[in-house]
């Protein structure tokens, strides 16, 4: 049994639901202590995800940055050596999708030589009458950037696990590829 460790950068405009997603995902199943840094506004929660059909798991350190701190240079230090990125927008706010390329670039520039798994999360899917950004637009953006597309509601706890499980599984595949490369 192998336990992998991953730093998951949770990113996106303010108010899209990053903290709600992290909390909903975190509070299902096992509880781990949550830490919060006052100076940078970055909080970390840890959750272990079992890779389906294997005895292996990935311990995910999910870094959630709050509000204005996102724009400061201090937070960048926390993003060093990212393992994966979860990019969030709000389906009722087109500006939040428009900001996604900028967020993605910020994280990718931390480690330009390494490919890492990425998920695009269209959150607040429960606000059915207020959807402004349709699935098609989200999916097109995700495809163009090599991200997998997910729709979630942190409020109603709908499909919140799916993007994190995807990221953990992709990360595990990268590990398996490395092992294969070293053995041959």
């Amino acid at each position: 049994m192998v336990l992998l460790r991953a730093k998951c950068i949770l990113i996106g405009n303010s108010k899209v639901g990053k903290t709600a997603l992290a909390q909903t995902f975190h509070s299902e199943g096992t509880h781990f202590p949550k830490s919060y840094s006052l100076t940078t506004g970055v909080s970390t929660c840890v959750k272990t995800v079992q890779i389906p059909d294997t005895p292996h798991s990935v311990e995910m350190y999910i870094l959630d940055s709050s509000g204005n701190e996102l724009y400061s240079d201090l937070v960048v230090h926390y993003w060093e050596n990212p393992s994966m990125v979860a990019l969030v927008y709000d389906v009722t706010d087109p500006q939040s999708l428009a900001s996604c390329p900028m967020w993605l670039e910020k994280v990718r520039s931390q480690k330009p030589e390494i490919a890492f798994p990425g998920a695009l999360i269209a959150n607040k899917s429960d606000l059915t009458n207020r959807w402004v950004v349709n699935s098609e637009e989200g999916r097109r953006f995700a495809d163009g950037k090599g991200l997998a597309y997910f729709e979630t509601s942190a409020k109603d706890s709908i499909d919140v696990d799916a993007p994190f499980l995807y990221l953990a599984t992709e990360y595990y595949k990268l590990y398996e590829d490395r092992v294969r490369g070293l053995i041959n």
Partner: protein
């Protein structure tokens, strides 16, 4: 010219930040270049190699993959305390294994070395072997 970083010579690894059951750190000291320790994600990664006794070391070599920034510290203390910087290197990217020899400017008394991998060219880095040569 003998390599003392071998299990059969009494060398041990008392500390490793990534405990990989399938590819454990002991593989670094088994004298076999095709077995390896593989990290399990995140940086930095740290490994302490303890020699069976303090030895006068003339060079240290590493066979590894996807390692970028590497720091090596040494200690002459029994308990691996008072670690001092020995060398720092940025390894070049290689598709296959990276091989790097560090010749020490003069024979240096060493009981323990600590390898600190600060970053890599991949999420996961391997060390296939470490060779510690005594005069």
């Amino acid at each position: 010219m003998t390599n003392v970083a071998l299990l059969q010579k009494g060398a041990r690894i008392p500390l490793c930040t990534a405990n990989n059951e399938e590819h454990p750190a002991a593989n670094i000291l088994d004298g076999n270049n095709s077995t390896f320790w593989l990290s399990t994600g995140l940086f930095p990664q740290e490994i302490i190699i303890s020699l069976s006794q303090s030895s006068l070391v003339t060079s240290i070599s590493i066979l590894c993959s996807h390692v970028k920034e590497l720091l090596i510290e040494k200690s002459v203390n029994e308990d691996a305390g008072d670690l001092e910087n020995l060398l720092r290197s940025e390894l070049e990217f290689q598709e296959t294994l990276q091989k790097q020899e560090f010749k020490l400017s003069s024979p240096t008394l060493i009981r323990h070395i600590k390898l600190i991998i600060q970053s890599g060219y991949d999420h996961f880095v391997s060390i296939n072997s470490v060779t510690v040569v005594t005069s």
